[in-house]
């Protein structure tokens, strides 16, 4: 049943299946995390909503889901922030012209930014979890008048592991958002908060009926963050988290990303807690 195929008896693949991109810029964020600015060679415009992701293919190595981490209004260059953890992420970060990166997407649903209009918003990020939230921050700031209070809580392992340092500085200096940053372990130069991200909740008071929360980070961090949010009175329908599961296709066809009744790739990756509380935090679901 094995098809023997040579380059000759095949036809050219339609671009929507995999768009070839060049890497225009590589920004070093931390020692192991880089932001790649991709340009689709077909020059077609690229649109996405904050919270969505792409499947990125490194030639001969593999394909992995990576969140869109840039400004949704930027149509020319597509930003992805990639942490090197294995073969594919390593190959992606090290791709240079004339090499290319294959891109499929955008996939997934994104953060409920429309729904949250007129309400307060709290964004809680852990580590690389900030990547899919950065577009949401851009969006809220760009439509600042349409939202109430805006809290941003961010935790990383060490000061060195903080992403987007320039923007963090800017966000901290803004008066129209409350930014709190913490690290698990500081260094001699660090003068900010030390402790896991949930310790920051002491510093804020949320209006439970009027606040939407967007959370992304390691599963254990999200679990405790959800508890804090509930402590402050938020109901599960207002708490949104972004899940991570193994993905091969991104289109709900390969089955790998199942989480209870959901396919994380097409029903998520963003879920409200009341959708998933039956499964979230249970062992090995």
């Amino acid at each position: 049943m094995k098809a023997k195929v040579t380059l000759e008896n095949t036809q050219t693949l339609e671009v929507e299946v995999m768009r070839k991109c060049s890497v225009e810029e590589v920004i070093k964020e931390t020692p192991d995390t880089y932001t790649l600015m991709l340009k689709p060679l077909d020059k077609k415009e690229y649109n996405f909503v904050p919270g969505q992701f792409n499947m990125l293919y490194a030639f001969g190595v593999g394909e992995v889901p990576i969140s869109l981490s840039g400004d949704p209004d930027e149509k020319r260059l597509i930003a992805h922030t990639v942490r090197i953890v294995g073969a594919v992420t390593n190959a992606l970060v090290n791709t240079r012209k004339p090499g290319f990166i294959g891109l499929r997407g955008p996939f997934g649903n994104g953060w409920p930014l429309e729904k949250a209009k007129g309400k307060d918003v709290i964004i809680v990020a852990g580590g690389i979890g900030l990547a899919p939230l950065r577009p949401a921050i851009y969006y809220v700031l760009k439509h600042r008048k349409e939202y109430g209070k805006f809290f941003f809580l961010y935790g990383a392992r060490t000061p060195n592991d903080l992403l987007y340092k320039k923007e963090l500085k800017e966000w901290k200096s803004r008066f129209d958002m409350d930014t709190f940053i913490t690290v698990d372990a500081g260094d001699e130069k660090w003068t900010g908060n030390v402790g896991v991200v949930t310790t920051l909740f002491k510093r804020i008071r949320l209006d439970p009926d009027n606040t939407y929360a967007f959370v992304c980070g390691p599963e254990i961090m999200m679990k405790f963050t959800v508890l804090e949010l509930r402590n402050q009175g938020l109901t599960d329908d207002k708490i949104y988290i972004s899940m991570e599961r193994n993905m091969k296709c991104g289109m709900g066809l390969c089955g790998h990303c199942q989480f209870g009744p959901y396919f994380v790739c097409k029903d998520g990756p963003v879920f409200s807690m009341d959708q998933i509380n039956r499964f979230f935090g249970r062992r090995e679901v």
Binding site: C254, G255, H256
Partner: protein, 368 residues
């Protein structure tokens, strides 16, 4: 078999081979049940000669045995280890080739049209479910779509259901309700051996026209109805599907999961013989020269560790959790995903599980 204004045809057994010939003439690659290595498997048929006649299967949990009888029945057995999935969604398939410069190639469909003869009603339902999963969502599975598109199904009603069948519980059999082009009932007595043909589609009609069948007589139709009524009662294995989904959701932490986890081999047999399990994986290849790379798709199973791997470790480390994922998917989460069960009651997973784990028993234990 309801008979409002519908014509049923009759074909004498000696003429049965014509179906295969006609299908071939119409340009189909015909798959049908043949005997290989002690079981009934789908193979490409050159003629009806290759169909396993006079063979009957005995199935029980973890056991399958073919028995030869001295009759000429074409379809004396029920389902074998392969499902139509094997033909319509091949276990391993090339997805694309890509050159170093990014030029990408996908395999071209060779225009092969497939006909499958001898599908059982549960298999038809399984194809319907696969259609639902692979073709009706926001994205289509193109390999399946290409093979499925023009496929013709000649189904066979089950007059002798197997021991592991529980199609009546899943409302999928023992007779076909939909999804076929032609559905056949084999009618064998001491005196006669005929096939009663029920034609559903134009493609089916095209085949039947070329066969030159006569119309079935009223007695024949009566006899067939009786046969099928009896068949229904012969399906003894049951699964109570009432509230099944909710019962399972409630029992996500039931102690029986651990118990079955101790027996389950996590070998994946159940998922690969299952006619609806659709999970697949991919792997990448590259030439030594690094000039061309390929990506292949292949059947995967939720019983493998890699299936749920994310950086840092797999989500489902224990066999228990993998069995639970499987059963919960078949009988609970599938309902939320696609509106039907992911199980058609064909019993394959029970038969082909080397240690004979029975999904109906485990479901009952968990909810009990």
């Amino acid at each position: 078999m309801s008979s409002q204004q519908k014509t049923y045809f009759a074909l004498d057994a000696e003429m049965f081979g014509n179906i295969i010939d006609v299908l071939k003439d119409l340009g189909y690659t015909v798959y049908g049940p043949t005997e290989r290595d002690g079981a009934i498997v789908y193979d490409v048929l050159d003629s009806a000669e290759q169909i396993a006649r006079g063979l009957y299967d005995e199935q029980s949990p973890g056991r399958y045995k073919l028995v030869k009888k001295n009759d000429k029945r074409y379809f004396g057995y029920v389902v074998g280890p392969q499902s139509p999935k094997y033909v319509l969604y091949p276990p391993q398939h090339l997805l694309f080739k890509v050159r170093k410069d990014g030029k990408t190639f996908i395999p071209q469909s060779d225009g092969k049209k497939i006909a499958i003869v001898g599908l059982r009603p549960c298999d038809l339902k399984a194809i319907e479910i696969l259609d639902n999963v692979l073709l009706k969502g926001p994205y289509k599975e193109s390999v399946y779509e290409a093979l499925r598109k023009d496929a013709v199904f000649i189904a066979v009603n089950c007059v002798e259901p197997g021991n592991n069948c529980f199609c009546t519980s899943m409302n999928t059999g023992p007779f076909a309700q939909s999804g076929y082009d032609i559905c056949i009932t084999e009618f064998l007595t001491d005196r006669s051996h005929v096939f009663i043909l029920d034609v559903m589609t134009n493609r089916g009609a095209e085949v039947v026209n070329r066969l030159g069948c006569r119309n079935a007589t009223a007695e024949e139709l009566d006899a067939v109805s009786r046969l099928m009524e009896e068949a229904k009662n012969k399906v003894r294995k049951r699964l109570n599907t009432e509230n099944l989904k909710d019962d399972l959701y409630k029992n996500i932490e039931h102690p029986n999961w651990n118990e079955v986890g101790n027996r389950c081999l996590a070998c994946g047999n159940c998922t690969l013989v299952c006619p609806t399990c659709f999970c697949s994986s991919v792997f990448d290849k590259s030439s030594l020269s690094m000039d061309v790379a390929e990506r292949w798709g292949l059947w995967d199973s939720c019983f493998s560790i890699d299936y749920s791997y994310i950086h840092g470790g797999s989500i489902r480390q224990s066999i228990m959790s993998r069995y639970r994922q499987w059963l919960m998917h078949k009988l609970a989460t599938w309902v939320d995903q696609f509106g039907t069960f992911g199980c058609v009651g064909c019993g394959r997973c029970i038969t082909w599980c080397p240690v004979g784990i029975d999904i109906t028993e485990e479901a009952n234990r968990v909810r009990g």
